[in-house]
């Protein structure tokens, strides 16, 4: 019946999946996913589901993927139907689709498609999108677990991906490395420094994996930093010296840390501040295993901080601290109070804290700790109280000064109402007394007195054992106890019975006069006990101690056998030898080797070759090296688009102007404003070490940056046409926001043209030089986004040397990372289809893009205009002439005329690209202003107007 109903339901799902309606299909898939989540079997729907794998609906598709991954293993033949869809999707222009296709393809675990997977992985590993490459790294592990025979090929892919400079890929590929070929340490050499440097920017999960891998790597490649410190080390020196001999060797040759070793320690340190507890733990274990001992203390605070985190985190961290605190008490001693137990802690947390407190105990702090322990003993959690008593016992044996105090305290606990507490106390006292029995006969007497009230078998057995062992110290009491026990023998627990037999035997040997009969009585009782252990023991003891004709040689030695001095038990931490496992690992937590655990090797005695980590740095070609060729090309370009050839020539001149920096450039431009003709030649500046070139009108840039020099400036020539297209495409709010600030500058910039009666060519409008060049530069690329590379741009408002229809732009690139950045260029894949030409690029054969950042230049409208001078009459005439006049009047409240005493301010300009006239007049009629803009370019007109409005409004007080 049930089965039938289930089938029916699936029938109806099948129908929904086969319908034409997307929404029905989606609904069906959602219900199927619900079934999978509950662990119900939905495998017979496979044929119906797999049909939808090529669906256009992305959510439906994703759910089908979920289903496929879950059931493909069971339905391999049908799963093959979907493969071609994925193969197609692998070529999709959308990186998310490429990546998810690879994810599913590699997850379906059908052995027959291994070759297809291999091919897809190889292809994806060279994909332009780092996200797809990351997916490829994940796919490596999946393929490896499906078919380990592919190992060799996969290692090749791993090798390739390890070279990847994207932070996105780093964590995943190291994970693949750890899974597939953790022993191939040679693959790491060349990437070691890169990984160290990338580490801070890798996502947190990748950090954990990389740090663990680098810990292993460092232990094989560097020599131990510990020997030297051991000199100053307060803790057991022996651990750090293998032999005296080594010490001598070491004294003659001081230890110098490998710079790469230092690099690792330095670059991981900031991660101690991570919010991710796994990262903090990973760095801590790295320091524990790799850092010189005196640098270890920096991890303490961070570990203690983790104790505020979730219960599970506390558990793992406390375990690691427990291991650490055995070897290095000093690390955690100042934070002792952080390990105080709260009544609300879970039991396993409490016992771990107790463990650590015990490890930290020394002569100086033992009294504080014991006082704290007193509170714990009273805890409602009895298991914890018992653990505390054990801890007191450990303190007592470790610190001889307090042994007596502890013993007395424990004896007091014997009168506690709680059985577990008493029992534990007895057991601990027994252990303590064993270390120094002679002085404590009164404690034994006291225990004998309490004996009647103690019911816990283990405690009773312990007391009996003590009596027997030290019966010579309590000659009067012991026989009496035995007498009492003889009465209750049959009602005792087995362990107690065994100890009664023991006690009887020992007393028989030492004090046979008083106890002979009692012993025989007990032995007789034991002989008929139900438990065969006790019967056996009784028989053995009888043969041993009671001399008769059959007894062999053994009975002669009975006394020596039974009364032999016994070694005192050692009370030590359960975490004593945990450090054989790498800290922070699962194996350490479990205290047994987990499968897949990779052991840390010991430090090599002699460091392996350091040079293996050297990466050849291609020396950058300097500007001066290629000057000739440069000039040739520039000459070529000059003929192409520009009318004023004189300006082109000035490029080569200006290249020698070494010291011209931004500031004196702008000042010079201001001084030159009157002589508008001559300045156009001088204006074009280039700063030292910059290169620029233009090959075709549509091509931009070039540039190349020697890494030694951090700051570089470049002049970029950008086709105005391009900027205009760009503006139209990206009229976003951000654009307007950026425009606003440059607006005030624009006002001033245009204002100077007003009323200047100068020569004025009627047809071709002659551009004049700007009065004011703003120093403000705009951010193109932030150094966070650019991984160290930052770029700023600034409009120089200089006529462009490469063409009249272009706008000059000054680009400042700076490198704030500590790595050399190479091969900086503007990508050819820019969305507006502009091409890039790079000069002196290093390693031109490398076509792989290592890091791509998409940036957009957002010029203020005003930057696209050139000021022109014209008379007032011409202005009015032109205003009338413009056939497509864009006119807009707006009333803006303002009560302060800007800069001018006249009521009407007029500004004239032309667009750089097309030379169309732009006329602006601002009429101030207190408190209102009327702005009139005349231009053919309506887009520019409207944007200008909007900015004027904002600027005027903002300038009001």
């Amino acid at each position: 019946m049930l089965n039938h109903r289930f089938l029916c339901r699936n029938e109806d799902l099948k129908e929904m999946l086969e319908s034409n309606k997307e929404s029905l299909k989606l609904e069906a898939m959602k219900r199927i996913v619900g079934l999978i989540a509950k662990g119900k079997n939905a495998s017979e729907l496979f044929p119906a589901v797999v049909k939808n794998v090529a669906s256009k609906n992305i959510e439906l598709k994703k759910l089908v993927y979920v289903y496929l991954v879950r059931y493909a293993e069971e339905q391999q033949d049908l799963a093959l139907l979907s493969i071609s869809t994925f193969q197609r999707a692998l070529k999709d222009p959308n990186q998310l689709i490429r990546a998810s296709a690879l994810r599913v393809l590699s997850s379906i675990r059908v052995p027959i498609i291994v070759p297809i997977m291999m091919l897809a992985i190889k292809e994806a590993a060279t994909d332009l999108s780092p996200y797809v490459r990351k997916t490829a790294a994940h796919a490596i592990q999946k393929l490896y677990s499906l078919d380990p025979d592919q190992k060799e090929h996969l290692i090749e892919v791993i090798e390739k991906l390890l070279k990847d400079k994207s932070t996105l890929v780093a964590g995943s590929v190291v994970m693949a490395f750890e899974e597939v070929c953790p022993d191939r340490i040679d693959l790491i050499h060349k990437n070691y420094r890169k990984l160290c440097n990338l580490l801070v920017d890798v996502e947190e999960w990748g950090q954990v994996v990389i740090i663990h891998m680098l810990t292993r790597y460092a232990r094989t490649q560097f020599v131990s930093p510990w020997r030297e410190d051991a000199m100053f080390d307060e803790n057991n020196e022996k651990a750090f010296y293998d032999s005296e001999e080594e010490r001598k060797v070491e004294q003659t040759k001081p230890y110098i840390m490998d710079p790469d070793h230092r690099l690792l320690l330095r670059n991981t340190k900031p991660l101690l501040q991570s919010r991710n507890t796994a990262v903090v733990m990973a760095v801590s274990q790295l320091y524990w295993h790799l850092a010189p001992k005196h640098e270890l203390s920096i991890i303490t605070k961070s570990l203690v901080r983790l104790l505020r985190s979730h219960r599970e985190v506390q558990y793992v961290v406390l375990q690691n601290i427990a291991t650490m605190s055995i070897q290095r008490k000093g690390m955690f001693e100042p934070f002792m109070k952080s390990f105080y137990v709260r009544s609300t802690d879970a039991t396993h947390i409490k016992t771990l804290k107790l463990e650590i407190l015990t490890n930290l105990a020394n002569e100086a702090n033992i009294s504080t700790i014991l006082r704290e322990f007193q509170t714990y003993v009273k805890s409602q959690d009895k298991a914890f109280a018992a653990a505390t008593i054990q801890a007191i016992g450990r303190c007592a044996t470790n610190i001889s000064e307090v042994t007596d105090t502890c013993l007395n305290g424990l004896v007091l606990l014997l009168s506690n109402r709680d059985e577990t507490v008493v029992a534990e106390s007895v057991v601990v006292i027994k252990k303590l007394l064993q270390t120094q029995p002679s002085q404590h006969s009164d404690i034994i007497k006291h225990m004998a007195k309490l004996f009647d009230n103690i019911t816990v078998p283990m405690a009773r057995a312990s007391i009996l054992w003590l009596m027997g062992e030290y019966c010579e110290h309590v000659p009067k009491i012991a026989p009496d106890v035995l007498r009492k026990m003889a009465k209750t023998f049959t009602n005792e627990e087995d362990i107690v019975k065994l100890q009664i037999v023991n006690l009887a035997a020992k007393l028989y040997l030492t004090n046979s006069k008083q106890t002979k009969l009692l012993t025989q009585y007990i032995l007789n009782l034991g002989k008929y006990d139900q438990n065969y252990d006790i019967r056996d023991r009784t028989r053995f003891i009888r043969q041993l101690i009671v001399p008769n004709e059959k007894s062999g040689a053994l009975s002669k030695y009975a006394r020596r056998i039974l009364m032999a001095p016994k070694p005192a038990p050692v009370l030590q931490s359960a975490f004593k030898d945990r450090d054989r496992f790498q800290l922070g690992t699962l194996s350490h937590t479990l205290n047994s080797q987990a499968s897949g655990y990779l052991e840390l090797s010991d430090w090599p005695a002699v460091a392996p070759d350091q040079s293996v980590r050297n990466v050849e740095v291609v020396e950058p070609k300097f500007y001066s090296d290629s000057e000739e060729e440069e000039e040739e090309e520039e000459e070529g370009s000059s003929s192409e688009g520009s009318s004023s050839s004189s300006s082109e020539e000035s490029v080569s001149e200006s290249e020698s102007e070494e010291n011209s920096d931004d500031s004196n450039k702008s000042s010079s431009s201001q001084s030159e404003k009157s002589s508008s003709e001559s300045d156009s030649e001088k204006k074009k500046k280039t700063l030292k070490n910059k290169k620029l070139q233009q090959q075709k009108p549509d091509i931009l840039i070039i540039t190349y940056l020697p890494p030694q020099i951090m700051q570089k400036t470049l002049l970029l020539i950008i086709m105005t046409k391009y900027i205009l297209i760009h503006i139209v495409l990206s009229i976003s709010t951000q654009f307007f926001v950026n425009c606003m600030c440059s607006l005030l500058h624009l006002c001033v910039f245009l204002a100077c043209q007003f009323d200047v009666v100068s020569w004025h060519v009627h047809v071709s409008l002659q551009a004049s030089s700007p009065v004011f060049v703003p120093e403000t530069s705009h951010e193109l690329l932030h150094r966070m986004t650019g991984k160290g590379l930052s770029a700023q741009y600034r409009f120089t408002r200089q006529p462009c040397i490469y063409g009249n229809s272009m706008v000059s732009l000054q680009l400042t690139l700076s490198n704030s990372s500590d790595q050399a950045l190479e091969n900086i260029h503007i990508s050819e894949k820019s969305s507006t289809g502009q091409n890039i030409h790079r000069f002196n690029a290093i390693g031109e054969r490398h076509t792989t893009k290592e890091d791509e950042f998409s940036v957009s230049i957002q010029p203020a409208v005003g930057e696209l205009l050139l000021p022109i001078t014209m008379s007032e009459a011409d202005f009015t005439k032109e205003q009338g002439n413009t056939n497509t006049s864009y006119w807009h009047a707006d009333e803006t409240p303002t009560n302060r005329p800007i800069h001018f005493s006249v009521c009407i301010s007029r500004f004239a300009g032309k667009t750089v690209s097309s030379g169309s006239l732009v006329l602006v007049s601002v009429a101030l009629k207190d408190p209102d202003a009327v702005i009139t803009i005349n231009t053919e370019k309506t887009v520019i007109g409207s944007m200008l107007l909007r900015q004027f409005k904002t600027a005027l409004t903002n300038s009001c007080p």
């Binding site: 989540a37 992305i58 979920v66 947190e204 985190v313 793992v316």
Partner: protein
Amino acid sequence: MIHSLFLINNAGDLFLEKHWKSVISRSICDYFFEAREKAVEPDNVPPVIRSPHHYLINIYREKIFFVSVIQTEVPPLFVIEFLHRVAETFQDYFGECSETTIKDNVVIVYELLEEMLDNGFPLATESNILKELIRPPTILRSMVNTITGSSNVGETLPTGQLSSIPWRRAGVKYTNNEAYFDVVEEIDAILDKSGTTVFAEIQGVIDACVKLSGMPDLSLSFMNPRLLDDVSFHPCVRYKRWESERVISFIPPDGNFQLMSYHISAQNLVAIPIYVKQNISFFETGSSGRLDITVGPKQTMGKTVECLVVTVHMPKVVLSANLNATQGTYNYDPVTKILLWDIGKLNPQKLPNLKGSLSLQSGAPKPEESPSLNIDLKIQQLAISGLKVNRLDMYGEKYKPFKGVKYVTKAGKFQVRT
């Protein structure tokens, strides 16, 4: 790494399973159930459980066990941290992380789990990225979706995923640009019977709610950064700036996040805002006891103590309590043995007092242990450590944001021993 995940409720029902590699039978959870039974209290379940071929790493949160199955060596904290991140994501998406919400949104849960892990290795855990991939459910959207058939799933790769600031999505736009910071300090303290401080320290966090357009670059500075003993930051904070200038400089994630947490250790003197006078005693005979608790202000820096709650875990033999509170209400739960006294605002003129008798199980011996008191309190407009935000500056964007800083002091693990 992480092989499978099982969600198990407090009653021991397994209500969701998800596998990232081959399917592992749910019978593996028997090892967990065994440990669960042994532990009695859910809090006492060991976080790492071993079975012959697998390892079970679990967390307990919001009355749900998240049990993950591991096959090979992996740092346990890696898994634990991830599981907590999963729980936080659920909370972020559904408002709360409970069995009902997970069951109601099982499809979204599945889609999320699919995105968060690939082959057991975390893929996208930043909530900003996830929200672009899978939109959180709202009533309106789910209605629209059922009608139009449009989906909750994003079609393009979130921009944050590729940038080096994955925590922030591009193109954020707000009409009101605002940034709020809450400095929340918790006092962790243990006071002994006589009221002296055994141990006290301050744990602080700065929670931020930043709703700013574009790519703002913020920097936050303190009047007294030296106070901070140990800090941990959201990945967005530039650590080097902090090292050199003690300024927190960052490009914030969009929306709510925890900017930093800090620690002011016991070395500095910690002001304890209240004192507690208590006397809980049990009589040798008569199966009864007496309780008398008074709370008063100590170092409150002139502010009012609010939301004052005293919790007492009574010994098992206490059957009922007959008390009289001069302020607030009390409640004794005879099952959990928890006495809860909700005082509310602390009035320094008239100190709240709770007094009366306790009745014990007849015939039971007088309880040995004395119960400890847990205190909860809240002080508005005060950071008990004295930490003060000096200024907040914004670079990179042109608008003027609205900024606000709020201070709150709370009791963290505040315990009075008796």
